[in-house]
């Protein structure tokens, strides 16, 4: 009974933590949405129980670029009881996605739209270049 109550409380905290980029929960949510994994299947992917997943989500996210990344992942994995390799994979993948996202300066769902805009810009500039060249050609020689 007490365990059930704790799970409900931790679930609420996990949900809130997922809205704050400081916590692993935000990365878990992002990873799930990137890979189309339902939230409830995240625990089986990370080889842990639901409570362990909540505890993991409430940990501070380690920076994959930091030299202490591996040791921090190990510490989190051993505290929360999740698979360390899978956790490192999740954090690296979400970090890459966030970096691409920042460079693209577009919301995640619109990443492809960002690429399309870039392609269109490129096309436009080459079009402009072509038309400039064409207009140069068309100029009557005096």
């Amino acid at each position: 009974m007490e365990k059930q109550t704790d799970e409900r409380l931790l679930a609420r905290a996990f949900k809130k933590a997922a809205e704050l980029s400081l916590f692993v929960a935000a990365d878990l949510r992002l990873y799930a949405s990137l890979n189309g994994i339902p939230n409830e299947k995240l625990s089986s992917f990370l080889k842990c129980t639901t409570i362990e997943l909540y505890k993991l989500g409430l940990c501070r996210r380690p920076d994959p670029l930091s030299p202490s990344f591996r040791s921090q992942v190990d510490k989190i994995a051993s505290y929360s009881g999740v698979n360390g390799q899978r956790l490192a994979q999740v954090l690296r993948e979400t970090d890459t996605a966030k970096t691409m996202w920042t460079f693209g300066n577009a919301p995640l769902g619109a990443r492809s739209a960002g690429y399309l805009m870039a392609a269109r810009d490129k096309e436009d500039s080459s079009e402009t270049g072509r038309s400039k060249r064409r207009s140069k050609k068309k100029k009557p020689k005096k």
Partner: protein, 212 residues
């Protein structure tokens, strides 16, 4: 120094340093459930989600700004309880004013479009209920109030009023009059709610008289 003191000092130091990845989760594991229990015991608040949110928010606020806590002034748990109580009172006040606004809007709508008398009467009562909510969420007052309203049926009706239940059927089932025609049910429910409302008003006046 007790184990609890040691945990408090250690977790505070780890959060202040900002480099320990598991400190925030350990804080939740250690305090969240205790915090919720203390809030449940101190407040007569039926909406449990408000209590859980207040406890959770207090912990997040501390994690995000650990320097706001001064270990010289009080134990960490007392600090968290105080913060959570403040959050809870704010949340209850917000909920009450939101209910009031909703009720005001529906009252205006009824006036404009000529809503029937029964709906208007229910809305007026609901406005009173939200005012009463303000008066009675303190535990001490709640105990006094329960002494005042001793009849189990009246208490059940009061609970529904505090929870802002509007459906006549809910009250009718408490009163055991579900087999009566709906108009008669409405009439009897209104009569009971009016009576309890007057009792509450008298109680509220007595309490504010004592406070003055």
């Amino acid at each position: 120094m007790t184990t609890r003191d040691q945990f408090e000092l250690s977790i505070h130091g780890r959060l202040l340093a900002g480099a320990d990845p598991t400190a925030s989760a350990e804080l939740f594991e250690h305090y969240q459930s205790r915090l919720v229990s203390v809030l449940r015991a101190s407040f007569w608040q039926r909406d449990d989600s408000l209590i859980i949110d207040a406890a959770t928010d207090a912990l997040f606020n501390y994690i995000l700004n650990p320097a706001s806590y001064d270990p010289q002034k009080s134990p960490l748990f007392n600090y968290l309880v105080l913060a959570a109580k403040g959050d809870l009172i704010n949340a209850v006040n917000k909920k009450v004013s939101r209910l009031k606004t909703e009720i005001n809007i529906s009252a205006v709508e009824n006036e404009e479009f000529g809503g029937n008398k029964v709906t208007e009467a229910v809305d007026t009562e609901a406005a009173d209920e939200t005012r009463r909510l303000r008066i009675i969420y303190g535990r001490e007052l709640a105990t006094k109030l329960l002494r005042e309203i001793s009849d189990p049926t009246d208490r059940a009706i009061l609970s529904l009023m505090i929870d802002n239940v509007r459906e006549t059927t809910e009250y009718a089932s408490v009163l055991g009059i579900t087999k009566l025609p709906q108009s008669e049910q409405r009439k009897r429910v209104k009569m009971h709610k009016d009576r309890i409302g007057k009792q509450l008003e008298r109680f509220g006046k007595r309490q504010s008289g004592k406070a003055n």
